[in-house]
């Protein structure tokens, strides 16, 4: 009986592994092969590192190093917007968790509603708003909408409401802290885990956001990487036969495309590793008797 159960478990796990891991593996191996080898050779064979550097040369040469500009743009947009998110969402969550002002419940409900609304639904109104503020074409046109992150507010709210005992704040108040110092010296240092969490989610959301910048930015030198990737895609002959055969030689094929995609993932992975450290261990242990 036990061996049957074990066998069944292995089969199920194997099916899932093949289904989910295979595409990722394929993607990682793709830049090591030439475009021809990619479609004719075994899907999980390894090509050569020479092919990887060749693919990078082609990618980097595309449109006068514009790939680097796109990565730079994405970093600028995501970091600036996330900085604004942290500066606003953490105090907002704190206020919602411990405040007793009129309209608190309403604000919480609104936060939830906006949080579950698909971001794409807001793109058109945001575009019109930015247009009437004459911001279209400036970097603020991307950063400001990215800075609106109700999920971060909600995370901070949940954290404060459940993990930080109100007694701690009362202790700070009787120890001579005004409301600002209570936040600055007690509530904020305790929020480390949720700061890391909001930082991570906000950064990833901004980094991966495609539709908003796609709709708002006209100048390709202002593209973030996600919009740039779609530009690359449409420059690849196998996806867009009209391209490549024309006057200029762009040298963007499937391995270059795969490499671009992989590079676009790296910043997210780094941010994840950094914020994960702060997430692992809660900070509040020992504050109050459990």
């Amino acid at each position: 009986m036990r061996s049957v159960a074990l066998g069944l478990r292995l089969v199920i796990l194997a099916v899932f592994a093949v289904f989910f891991v295979a595409p990722v593996l394929w993607l990682i191996l793709a830049p090591t092969k030439s475009d021809h080898a990619l479609v004719t050779g075994s899907p999980f064979s390894f090509g050569s590192f020479h092919q990887v550097s060749l693919a990078w040369k082609h990618l980097d040469a595309f449109s006068d190093h514009i790939f680097r500009t796109w990565i730079g743009n994405s970093l600028l947009y995501a970091f600036s917007a996330t900085a604004i998110v942290l500066a606003t969402a953490i105090p907002a969550g704190y206020g919602l968790a411990f405040g007793t002002f009129p309209g608190r419940k309403l604000l919480l409900t609104l936060t939830l509603i906006v949080m579950i609304m698909p971001a794409a639904a807001l793109v058109l109104p945001i575009f019109l708003e930015l247009n009437s503020l004459h911001l279209i074409g400036s970097v603020l046109a991307v950063i400001l909408p990215f800075s609106f992150f109700p999920f971060g507010v909600y995370l901070a709210y949940i954290y404060y409401a459940t993990a930080v005992p109100p007694d701690l704040l009362d202790a700070a108040r009787t120890d001579g802290c005004g409301e600002w110092l209570t936040f600055r010296r007690v509530a904020l240092p305790l929020a480390k885990p949720v700061v890391a969490l909001v930082f991570f989610f906000s950064f990833v959301a901004d980094w991966n956001n495609f539709f908003l910048p796609y709709a708002i930015i006209a100048d390709s030198s202002q593209y973030p990487i996600q919009v740039g990737l779609s530009d690359l895609l449409s420059s690849t002959p196998s996806f867009n036969p009209a391209q490549g055969g024309g006057g200029q030689q762009v040298n963007i094929f499937r391995p270059e495309l795969a490499l671009a995609t992989l590079i676009a993932v790296i910043p997210v992975a780094i941010v994840f590793l950094l914020s994960q450290r702060a997430l692992v261990r809660g900070l509040v242990g020992g504050a109050v008797k459990e």
Partner: protein, 405 residues
């Protein structure tokens, strides 16, 4: 240091609950005042109003010369010790203790000196660099105390600071806190639901019930002269026995009858309870402290009244034996008694208690008693341990003023 005065203070919550009802209480400069009562009696709310953590609905709270109603907690110059300790988890023990001084921008060198001094007082020196999570419960409690005493504030507010410690540590800390307080001489308001803590620590004790102050008195007076049935039942462990009884006066002598037992009151008892005369023929509640009930076999022929009883449960404590026994009499059933039973975790309903033919009493018997469970015994009653309460108002029947209209 300063006196703390409640002047007709009430707290009404948004849902209409009156948590504290017209509390008037003067706490003298340097006094150790304990607020005690069952959970939900408003004692913690009263304390938090002094600290500025709870808005005052009516009346005034005064600390020293200043009415503090509208002052923020930081401007009141009081230190608070929380039941949960509320230590700052991200700060070391030293930074926890010095937190308030840093807020006041005291020079670093002085903070260091005073933290060290405080840590010495509390035996915390070896732990100064640790975070709270690396401390035991008793150490955390001492850090919480240190955070308060380093301040030299106008008053200490303590909200059940010992209730999270185990029994042995609690007894030790009880004495330490009391000693610390008398050394630093800071006015202290101490909230607890533990009447033993209240009795052992307080210069005076305030008993509260449902937001209303019942009695303020030094511990001995509270124990010996409870103003009403609630105070009598709440203070003392084991609790005062309560029986339904009637008063009957026949040719000059006054007798208290409760079921099978009848006690003819002596002259001194009558003299100290003149109001009892007016209760002739009426039902009262008779309270008997456990120490007033002893094994008749040990008492000898001293002329004290005897009650026939059946031993039910024997709890040997060493120097004495707590004997639970039943007598033929009705247990008194009032709101107070229902509340006290609930507070003590007795889940029998009062109706059950009242319908019992026999009522259980507790007596403190001498250690030499040979009584065993199931024995039919005689219990000697000490008249001095008797208390008389009006059955409808619950007030102690002492002098004329206590007689119900």
């Amino acid at each position: 240091m300063a006196e703390v005065v409640f002047d007709g203070v009430s707290k009404v919550f948004k849902d209409g609950t009156r948590a504290v009802d017209e509390l008037s209480l003067d706490i003298a400069d340097g006094e150790f005042m304990v607020l005690v009562g069952p959970s939900g009696c408003g004692k913690t709310t009263a304390l938090r109003m002094v600290g500025g953590l709870e808005e005052i609905t009516e009346g005034n709270v005064r600390i020293g010369e200043r009415i503090v109603n509208d002052l923020s907690p930081k401007s009141r110059d009081i230190a608070m010790v929380f039941q949960s300790y509320a230590l700052y988890p991200h700060l070391s023990v030293a930074d926890n203790i010095g937190f308030a001084l840093k807020t006041k921008r005291v020079p670093k060198e002085e903070i260091r000196r005073r933290v060290l001094e405080t840590a010495r007082m509390l035996d915390l020196e070896p732990y100064l660099k640790r975070k709270p999570r690396a401390l035991s419960g008793g150490q955390r409690q001492r850090v919480a105390m240190g955070r308060a005493i380093i301040r030299q504030p106008r008053a200490f507010l303590m909200d059940e600071p010992l209730s999270n410690l185990d029994a042995k540590l609690r007894v030790q800390m009880r004495a330490e806190i009391k000693q610390l307080q008398s050394e630093v001489g800071v006015t202290t308001v101490y909230v607890t639901h533990d009447q033993v803590e209240a009795m052992t620590m307080g210069d005076r004790v305030s008993v509260m019930r449902k937001g209303v102050l019942q009695q303020v008195a030094p511990p001995e007076e509270l124990y010996n002269r409870p103003r009403n049935m609630f105070v009598g039942g709440f203070i003392g462990s084991p609790a005062m026995n309560m029986l339904e009884a009637t008063v009957s006066r026949t040719n000059g002598s006054t007798t208290i009858v409760a079921g099978e037992m009848s006690v003819a009151l002596s002259e001194p008892t009558l003299a100290s309870h003149p109001a009892l005369q007016a209760y002739d023929g009426r039902t009262i509640v008779l309270g008997i402290r456990p120490e007033g009930l002893n094994d008749a076999a040990l008492a000898g022929a001293d002329g004290r009244p005897r009650l026939p009883a059946r031993a039910e449960l024997r709890e040997a404590l060493g120097p004495e034996v707590l004997m639970h026994f039943s007598v033929r009499a009705r247990a008194a059933v009032t709101d107070e008694i229902r509340e006290l039973a609930e507070d003590a975790g007795d889940d029998r309903t009062v109706e059950q208690l009242g319908s019992l033919e026999r009522t259980r009493l507790v007596g403190r018997f001498g250690a030499q008693t040979r009584v065993r469970e199931g024995d039919t015994i005689e219990v000697a009653l000490d008249e001095g341990a008797l208390h008389f309460f009006d059955a409808s108002t619950g007030a102690a029947i002492v002098d004329e003023a206590a007689v119900a209209a």
